[in-house]
């Protein structure tokens, strides 16, 4: 390194070196600098209620969100917000097949029936996943490294890896969490996710398809973390839509193990975990 003898060394060069030493990153040159204000994203966060997306149901509509899980947040005291405000996602944008799924879900929910959803069967949540503002008081933790940003989710003890400076593979496959790549645009962390499977839900009762493509823009706004997420899923929605989530700093979250409570209607499942084929399909 030519600059070794100088007092000011570019951060970028340093991070490239780190990437080589720690990850053998083949595209090391794309590792972006991480400034002090970018590093502020590191840490524990919890969602705060801010705004609802366009077309969301009226405030107070629907029963509390709790995923139907015994002891789940929102259930015991009924303080949890309605599903529509939980997600902030505009149900009217759903295509007919998605609307049919959602109506069926809402009807069953209103009837107090146990819902078989990925989330309450302890399966990994999709993006935006658990911990979105206005939802249950579950926490997330963001860990910034030069070549990877990691999201840890308290709920269902799930993690999401965002590969920095990388492209999606030609075939991202179909996975519960999708495949995420990211890069910095100034102080904003931009995350691009696709490759979801066909059985996960966007949020409880809100279907999504394999065509879902999410672009998140995360940045600090004052003391808060802003996550502006644009969802584009021509398989399930009639148009792309954007939801802005806000998070506030939080104490560390503890070890929440969904599988300890893994049951359906109070009856433990034989295998402990259903296979995806046991789940209601979100697409035809």
């Amino acid at each position: 390194m030519i600059a070794l003898g100088k007092t000011s060394i570019s951060t970028k060069a340093i991070l490239i070196s780190i990437a080589i030493a720690t990850g053998g990153l083949s595209t090391a040159a794309t590792a972006e600098p991480v400034s002090k204000s970018q590093l502020a994203l590191n840490g524990y966060w919890r969602g705060v209620v801010t705004q609802r997306g366009p077309g969301a149901g009226p405030p107070g509509a629907g029963p509390p969100q709790g995923g139907g899980r015994p002891g789940g947040p929102g259930v015991p005291d009924g303080r949890g917000p309605p599903v529509d405000t939980f997600s902030g996602i505009a149900a009217p944008l759903l295509k007919p097949e998605g609307a049919a799924f959602r109506n069926k879900y809402r009807a069953a929910e209103a009837a107090g029936e146990q819902q078989r959803t990925p989330n309450n069967l302890c399966l990994p949540s999709a993006v935006p996943g658990t911990g979105v503002p206005g939802g249950p008081a579950y926490g997330i933790e963001i860990l910034l490294e030069a070549n990877q940003v990691t999201f840890l989710y308290e709920e269902n003890r799930t993690a999401r890896f965002v590969y920095m400076g990388k492209d999606h593979p030609a075939d991202p496959g179909k996975t519960w969490l999708g495949h995420s790549v990211g890069h910095w645009e100034g102080e904003t962390l931009v995350i691009d996710t696709l490759g979801f499977n066909d059985v996960n839900l966007l949020t409880e009762g809100m279907p999504m398809s394999h065509q879902m493509h999410v672009v998140q823009r995360l940045r600090m706004v004052g003391d808060h973390l802003e996550d502006k997420a644009t969802f584009d899923d021509p398989g399930m929605f009639t148009a792309p839509f954007t939801v802005t989530y806000l998070f506030e700093r939080s104490a560390p979250f503890q070890e929440y193990i969904c599988a300890e409570n893994n049951n359906e209607g109070g009856v433990p499942t034989a295998s402990g975990q259903p296979t995806p084929s046991e789940l209601p399909r979100t697409t035809k």
Partner: protein, 257 residues
Amino acid sequence: MNPISSLSKPQVRGRSLTLCVAILLTTAGSAFAQTSPVKPGVADPAAFSGVWVTTSQSMALVPADGKPLPFTTSGKALYQGNVSGLKNGKITDDAVHLCLPEGMPRAMTSPYPMQIISTPDQFTFFHESNRAFRMVRLADKHADTDVWDPSYMGEGIAKWQGDTLVIDSTNFKSDRIYLDATGLPASDQLHLVERIRTLDGGARLEDRITIEDPAVFSRAWTAVRVFERRNDIQVKTDWVCGEKHRDLTALKTGASK
């Protein structure tokens, strides 16, 4: 020592690069790692970051000194009961059958990959198996057990001793875990001290796990687990019990995915 020249050789590893990074980090005060001026045996958090796979063929924890497991009388009875129960099916291995976390130290014996994530005040161990993870804070004091519940992974705090990260873990959900897949029992007195360091210029990682549990063992004993760095693979984050998992044979032969 010229990192620029090694840009064309992304797989290059070694002490020289590690040292170089440490110098750069120190010079720039990067928040990724607070390192002292470079000396052999000095802490280098970035060296831990990445994907690791066990080099051991066995999932059993055994004393590194070659001596028999130092059971107490009741500890031995508990273990024999677990071994026979797991064999004849009277005991269910919940970690396997109910998707419950394997817990510590068993998570460190998994044949599936793990990834260590290094951030300024924390080391995070993410295990592909059952997507278990533990956050280990760089801290002097354990969390208050009045507010921090027992957990499968325990509550780990870490400090540096030279180039070795020493993790002290307590407060386990001991009635729910075995120390390893053979059914080594744990009590609420379980206390782990891990000494983790890199070997061979960062190509390997050693975890010396000292297990102390007076209800089960007559003295503390130490097991050693060694991992090799695997830059060629990515740890999968969406492990689901009942779904098809990674082909471990491919992992051992060095094939990616």
